[in-house]
Amino acid sequence: MNDGRSACIHDASVSGANHFRAATLALLSLLAMTLLPLVSDAGVLPEDRADLLYHRYDGGGVTIHGPSLLVRKTMAEKYSVSANYYMDMVTSASIDVQVSGASEYKEERNQYSLGFDYLRGKTTYSVGFTHSDEDDYKAKTASFNISQDLFGDLTTVTMGFSRGSDTVRRRDTITDRIDNNFSEPVERWSYRVGVSQILTRSTIMSLGLEVITDQGYLNNPYRSFRYVDPENDTQYKLATEIYPHTRTSNAVSLNARYFLPYRAAIHGSYRFFTDTWGIGANTFEVGYVHPLKATPWTFEASFRYYDQSRADFYSDLFPSIDYQNFMGRDKELSTFTSKSLHLGASYEFAKTGWRFVKRGTVNLYYDRMQFDYDDFRDARNRSLAAGTEPLYSFGANVFQCFVSVWF
């Protein structure tokens, strides 16, 4: 529960955000000017390949599954196009749905992406467009990236910018139809800088920085916060969440891979995250990849640990309906940890080529995830006094099965 010290919630002012964006663009321009004089020889475009994936997520009363198809093709050795279709089929009776008293619902999300790369010398220019469509949420994103190989290809510097524009709609829970009177915009800006560096014959590292700013209707129109019933303090009531209309986040990640002498690889990564809502997060991951000698099999395993602190305006149970100006009870904004174990197996076929196929793989991945919340309680049991329910936790199983073909 909120202890009353919860903090000053500040929406970033528009002028402040513009100033920041201008400064970031100036920084990216300086980087570009710094690096372009070092262009020489030719870089490399991504390989021609096609991937067909089936994914399935099952956990916390939610099942999401569907296909994803990604195709990439190079032309004239300096152009590359890629296309991706992705689909989510959702069946949800999550704890939020149950606490709100609503019944299980089903929905679909379709996402289409197109990308185009142009290689000039050692510089790769990329543009991409993504369109995501749900009944009650539409999102369009355009992105631009520039990638530059430097210092005898020991270093690769990338810079990118994305601009997104979303529309939030709402389904009437009584008529089960889209409410034509509810349509709210969200605008998104993302700025990225990254460096990957070959350190030794066996070690490569990368550093990434991304700043994302959102502005608009950032809460979920279906989700409620709960507050103490003024007529009975052992019970609670629900009201629609109220979020700030801006959010800016900073994330820095460090990744490293090391090649072991017997042809295997270990890898590790760390990401530090902070945002203007008061959330701070750390993500750690370590993993191991092992091709089985003289066989077409490759096995991999990794462990991921994530922790975060709650947003300033998050509380599991507010003392009253007008306790403060922003109030949220989204468990993604609470204090929690998640742990994931990943196991994967890949089988390589057509290793020496077959017709137009250079090689291919069949891959099966399984992830076991566990989410443990420190200040989000299981409010489904109304027989317990509000605020005394057990803390919520859930596990999820995630399967991916995909075929990749290089041509």
């Binding site: 000053c8 920041f20 920084l27 997520y57 999550s94 949420y137 994103t141 014959r201 992830d367």
Partner: protein, 110 residues
Amino acid sequence: MDTTGISQQSLPSSSSRQEVTFVSSPLPSWQRTRASGLVRCGAAALALFALSACGNIEPWVKPYERQALADPIMSFDPNPVSSAYIDHVYEAREGARGALGSSGGGCGCN
């Protein structure tokens, strides 16, 4: 609601509304975060600028010594279709986002 943002102090007073004290620093926390972030980015840019002035740097790992690094098991993102999916799974369930290399839209997270 005012989309440019409101603070708790600016709301109409209410006996039950939480009063918040705005403390100490001349800059709000988000501006301090951005300022320190920009300083770090600026330092990185200056370091790269200084590095570029060195002219042609002799690669300490020669192209013929990069056989291990070229192995597919050393790729940071060997299967983009899979990494984009799993990044989305985490982003829909965790507060953190960004610096992962993938981008896209939509929620799918209710």
